[in-house]
Amino acid sequence: MRIPTRPRESGVNVNITSLIDVIFLLIIFFLAASHFGRTTAQNLPELPEARSGDAVTKNPLSIDVNIFADGTLTLQDAPATLAQVEAAIHDGLIKHGESFGVYLNGEKTADFSHIKPILLAYQNEFLTVIGKRTITGLNFSVLKQ
């Protein structure tokens, strides 16, 4: 009998390494894409930096008000006027009481004159609706230095 001089080839050789690699690549791609999607959707202004600051869990019963350097406002990422912000604060306080909160995302180069109307609006609505003088629920967003 003749002895074969080379190993016999198997029928089908499936290499799953590349498949796993590609699947991992896709998972990472979609994770990264959704992450950047969310970041862009927030459209935050360039926030000021601070050394202190609390890494608290964000209050779900809250609204986000962005204040840009040119004085434009957005409320929950949609362009808004001061009157709309006031109305949203009023409604929130009526609905949720002191559990309600406002996150103020002010651009670091914005003048205080653009921030002040929001503080005043919150103060007015809080005094009107809640009737307490000690104001709670106002948060200034900062980046950690």
Binding site: L47, E107, D111, F112
Partner: protein
């Protein structure tokens, strides 16, 4: 000469497949890029610790006489620089404010600090002053704002919100 009846295959040990290596290199590259780009987390100055009362008519109870009743900080703009006025004294820079407040907080950190910012102050400078106050452990920080104007008539608040 005898013609080989099959195409000669290279031994698998000689064959270096680059595909998995490139895949893994890309994976690592993407991982490190994503990790380095990672979004910076947001932190907050909440009004419970910072702006408890926006300085309109926050009642200040009269405890036994103290050396220091309150601290009034007036933040103003001089040219391109932000300065702080405190008890008639002008502090030229925000860096110079820190040791002053640190010294005062060692005396009495429970006194309220009233922050009166001019309209033209950049928001970052206001936050810097708040930051310094928090770092120096002052417990009560208030904004001085004009009294509420044109408030809508105070509708009777629902009972559960009434004090």
């Amino acid at each position: 000469m005898k013609v080989p009846s099959y195409t000669r295959r290279r031994d698998s040990r000689e064959m270096l497949s680059m595909t998995p290596m490139i895949d893994i290199v890309f994976l690592l590259l993407i991982f490190f890029v994503c990790a380095s780009i990672g979004q910076r987390p947001l932190f907050y100055f909440s009004s419970e610790s910072v702006a408890a009362g926006t300085g309109v008519d926050v009642p200040i109870e009269q405890p036994p006489p103290k050396l220091l009743e309150k601290i009034d900080l007036k933040i103003r703009r001089q040219g391109e620089q932000t300065v702080v006025e405190m008890d008639g004294r002008t502090i030229d820079s925000l860096e110079a404010l820190r040791p002053v407040l640190l010294e005062l907080s060692e005396l009495a950190s429970d006194v309220p600090v009233n922050i009166d910012a001019a309209d033209e102050i950049p928001y970052a400078d206001l936050i810097a002053v708040l930051d310094i106050c928090r770092e120096t452990k002052f417990e009560s920080l208030n904004f001085v704002l004009p009294p509420p104007k044109g408030r809508r008539p105070a509708a009777a608040p629902p009972k559960r919100y009434a004090e």
